[in-house]
């Protein structure tokens, strides 16, 4: 885990140039990309946390988000709770669910090879998705709120204000995580475990407990994502699935454990995706941005590592 800003200078530079170009070409694409990118980063942060500390790529990441969505949907339809208010119970619910699932499954493969880790989280993702499918069926659902469609105008340029909440939450979660890792005792212990689990054990840190805590925390953060996203998203059992791979793409691009880099990488790819989306006749290609970048980054890293 490295928390320094130095590594991210290149990304910031590329990002700035890119933002200016897209901004001149089409301000809508820039705004949309900024909002979309922050959302991707917000979802990727917890995945990167688990990957950095536990060394486990959680393939069920997106499915935990799906479960969060449906939990909020249930609170909304049963008790009429506002999605943004229900973030609080959802965080608690997801933290407990994440803790239980960690304890039952992931805990047993943390020290084993990649194969077991990928397969078991993959199994968890299948179970979560299918349980949602059994309870709520595959019919798409959504929650309507008035405020989610508000918009504002600055100098003749009109944009939705609600999505700005993604940028705010992404920055808030990032700052919160950094403060936690640097300032609190548990955070410093977490940081130590991420760097060297054996060493951390020797100096008396309860590594098992830190793992459990980090996994729970990561899943709990998804409650924030679910609450902010739901007013603008139609949900179905596979809704969270594509975010797992996208989150991994961002973590790989930013470099393992570089939490700040994830925000910048997320915004970069978000703007890239939205720019392609705004090009007439080429909008279908926007899905390729993440996967293409993911493949290029992984392969470039492998060449760099070989030297």
């Amino acid at each position: 885990m490295s928390l320094s800003l130095k590594k991210t200078y290149t990304i910031i530079l590329i990002l700035a140039i890119f933002m200016i170009i897209v901004g001149f070409w089409n301000p809508n694409a820039l705004m949309n990309g900024l909002q979309r990118g922050s959302l991707y980063a917000l979802i990727a942060l917890p995945l990167a946390l688990v990957l950095g500390i536990l060394g486990v790529l959680n393939l069920a990441h997106g499915e935990f988000l799906t479960v969060g969505f449906y939990f909020i949907y249930m609170l909304n339809t049963r008790f009429g709770m506002d999605p943004l208010v229900s973030i609080i119970p959802t965080i608690i619910f997801l933290a407990i669910l994440g803790g239980i699932i960690y304890y039952l499954t992931v805990r047993k493969v943390v020290n084993k090879g990649h194969l077991s880790q990928l397969l078991i989280t993959f199994g968890v993702s299948l179970v979560l998705m299918e349980v949602v499918n059994i309870i709520w069926t595959s019919q798409a659902r959504n929650v309507y709120t008035q405020y989610a469609y508000a918009s504002t105008e600055i100098g003749g340029f009109r944009f939705g204000t609600y999505e700005l909440i993604y940028i705010l939450s992404a920055v808030a979660v990032l700052v919160g995580l950094q403060l936690f890792l640097k300032k609190t005792r548990l955070g410093q212990a977490t940081f130590a475990v991420g760097q060297n689990p054996k060493g951390a054990k020797i100096v008396g840190i309860n590594v098992e407990y830190v793992y459990l805590f980090v996994f729970s925390l990561a899943i709990a953060i998804l409650g924030i994502v679910a609450g902010t996203m739901l007013p603008r998203t139609a949900i179905f059992p596979a809704v969270g699935n594509p975010f797992t791979l996208k989150s991994f793409a961002l973590s790989a691009m930013a470099g393992l454990g570089n939490l700040n880099g994830i925000l910048f990488a997320g915004i970069l790819l978000g703007i890239g995706e939205s720019a392609i989306n705004y090009m007439p006749n080429y909008s279908g290609w926007s899905d390729i941005v993440f996967f293409g970048v993911l493949i290029i980054v992984i392969i470039a890293r492998s060449y760099k590592g070989a030297k």
Partner: protein, 314 residues
């Protein structure tokens, strides 16, 4: 001796199935055989220590190549199966030079990302592929004759089994096993690691392309959603795991067990029967890392006086 008797018996049952089974039973076995071949090909790659998530991608490429060449150029459908296999193999050969440098989760994730890239590309070159709605052929292979289709898929599955046996019996398996166990040692004892990985990657991808082509020709239809469906990755993977990885018999037994179970579950549980697959994967990884085949075989070997061959995978 008993072993050969069993194999011959199973072969007789497999080849005479159309004589006494109806079209429904045959279609169930078609599906099982398709996933069996995919599971075996996935396992053959895994034996080198590389976890590939690209099964669905090469399956889809083969399916598309075969259907498009029949639809646009009027090729013979049977011939197009080989084109499908060759196309997947060729793409795997080209990509192999890049992706086979990767290890562990990076190889797994890159192959998974490639599957998505294939499907996005195919969806967007709609002049050639028909875009999101896909391409339909006027008639299925052999005019949809279920017996002939069954034999076609059976032969492909048997061919895959044969290939897998060759892989685990010929000299190449020493190289493959040593790469899996310790790549550095393998390299230092003179094994050209990359050459073997590339060879296995191309062969297994070609099999996946062949199976994809046969599957698509059976339904005379391809579209990006269903042809690149992750089911063609998940189900074979679960089957190989349940039966037992690193062996030929494992995926075969796993495909039979899970194929029959899921067919039954589909009848009683229209929504979310895949939850059983997820639970099976978790239980197998946690409690039965060797699958069901090896523990049962070891028990049988211990109880019987006949020692049997001891080429069990360790």
């Amino acid at each position: 001796m008993k072993r050969y008797l069993l194999i011959v018996l199973l072969l007789i049952i497999a080849f005479t199935l159309p004589l006494y089974a109806d079209a429904y039973i045959m279609s169930v076995f078609n599906t099982i055989l398709v996933f069996m071949a995919l599971g075996l090909s996935w396992d053959m790659m895994l034996r080198t220590g590389q976890l590939s998530f690209g099964t669905a991608g090469f399956f889809g490429l083969g399916a598309y190549a075969s259907v498009l060449i029949v639809a646009n150029m009027g090729f013979n459908p049977v011939l197009s199966l080989f084109i499908g296999a060759a196309f997947s193999g060729l793409i795997a050969f080209a990509l192999g030079f890049i992706v086979l440098r990767l290890r562990g989760i990076y190889f797994a994730i890159t192959t998974l990302a490639l599957t998505h890239v294939f499907s996005v590309i195919i969806r967007n070159i709609s002049d050639l592929t028909g875009g999101a709605s896909g391409t339909q052929l006027s008639t299925a292979i052999f005019n949809g004759n279920p017996t002939k289709i069954y034999y076609m898929i059976l032969i492909i599955a048997l061919f895959t089994i044969l290939l897998s046996e060759i892989f685990s019996r010929s000299r190449i398996h020493y190289a493959i096993n040593s790469i899996r166990n310790d790549e550095t040692t393998a390299k230092s004892s003179g094994i050209d690691v990359f050459k073997y990985l590339l060879f296995v990657f191309v062969v297994t991808s070609a099999i996946q392309g062949l199976v994809g082509a046969a599957y698509a020709q059976q339904y005379a239809f391809v579209n990006p959603e269903s042809t690149f469906s992750l089911n063609f990755l998940l189900l074979p993977l679960a089957m190989a795991l349940v039966g037992g990885i690193y062996s030929t018999n494992g995926p075969i037994i796993g495909a039979l067990i899970l194929g029959l179970i899921s067919e039954y579950l589909k009848l009683i549980m229209p929504y979310g029967h895949l939850v059983v697959y997820g639970l099976i994967i978790i239980v197998v990884v946690l409690f039965l890392p060797q699958g069901v085949y090896t523990p049962i075989k070891n028990k049988l070997l211990k109880s019987s006086i006949v020692g049997g061959d001891s080429n069990a995978q360790t």
